[in-house]
């Protein structure tokens, strides 16, 4: 189970001088390689993962992803809170405003709603962990694209933290994959 703690994992902040980046941030809120996809993917795969190390890493990284999802939501909220429809239109969020108002709805940077089709869980631990490693790299690249497109120091600082987490998660999934492969090899007798 989970319990809500009234704090963020990182003090997400924005300068507020680049409202257009809010639209881009939706990529990591409800896009294919978003924090939401990451969380749902790992928390779905944990049930069949062999090894205590594997069950733990999927549960714990999956949980951290939900905290990252909240950080992205906070950035979008802080950037768009109080903007009137005309300002939202200038930020490219007129379609978003028509359908969702100021709510932080899970869609990607182009407005496409989040779908479970973005993720896979296919039981084989080597296949699942390989997907997870790919997902972390895709998220890292998305963060680099976002960082290259904004001048807001708060957004850059917050996204840099999240980008580093993708690197660490990739490392941990790689170690888990190695443990799973060693475990598979140990079951073979010649």
């Amino acid at each position: 189970m989970w319990i809500y703690e009234k704090k963020l994992q990182f003090p997400a902040w924005v300068e507020g001088n680049d409202l257009r980046i809010a639209k881009g941030l939706f990529a990591q809120y409800g896009g294919p390689d978003s924090e939401l996809s990451a969380g749902v993917r790992y928390l779905t795969q944990k049930y069949t993962m062999p090894l205590n190390e594997g069950k733990a890493i999927l549960t714990d990284i999956g949980t951290e992803e939900m905290a990252h999802w909240e950080i992205i939501g906070t950035l979008i909220y802080k950037l768009t809170d109080g903007l009137d429809p005309e300002e939202l239109k200038k930020a490219g969020l007129d379609a978003h405003y028509i359908q969702h108002g100021h709510d932080v709805y899970p869609h990607d940077a182009a407005g496409v709603p989040w779908t479970a089709a973005y993720i896979q869980a296919i039981e084989d631990p080597v296949t699942n962990l390989s997907e997870d490693m790919g997902a972390e790299q895709k998220a890292r690249t998305t963060y680099e694209h976002l960082i290259s497109l904004t001048t807001d120091r708060g957004v850059i600082e917050t996204l840099s933290f999240l980008r580093e987490r993708e690197v660490v998660h990739f490392q941990r999934f790689g170690e888990t994959l190695r443990l799973v492969q060693e475990w598979k090899d140990s079951k073979k007798f010649y």
Binding site: K6, Q9, F10, W13, V14, D60, D152, G154
Partner: protein, 90 residues
């Protein structure tokens, strides 16, 4: 939303400690025999527990699992996404 400076500094200290604890948590998941990492994790865990208790005693609930006066204190502002962390913007 601005909060009292001392409270903000304490909250950020809790966030930092909690992050360190999570980072060690993930490392230990794949290195369960690393005694040095275990010692650091346990040390952070104790500091974190103490600091959270101090914060909750002095300012506000971090989780609902606290003894509350009336009215129910959990619903009090600010929520995490509303706080100005005073990093240079809002």
């Amino acid at each position: 939303m601005k909060i009292d400076r001392e409270r903000l500094e304490m909250l950020k200290e809790i966030m930092a400690l909690d992050f360190s604890s999570i980072e060690l948590n993930l490392y230990l998941d794949t290195h369960p025999m690393d005694q040095r990492a275990l010692a650091v994790h346990n040390d952070y865990g104790m500091k974190l527990k103490k600091l959270k208790e101090e914060y909750e005693e002095k300012y506000a609930f971090l989780t609902h699992e606290n003894v509350s006066d009336c009215p129910w204190e959990w619903i009090e502002e600010p929520w995490p996404w509303e706080i100005d962390y005073e990093m240079g913007g809002r």
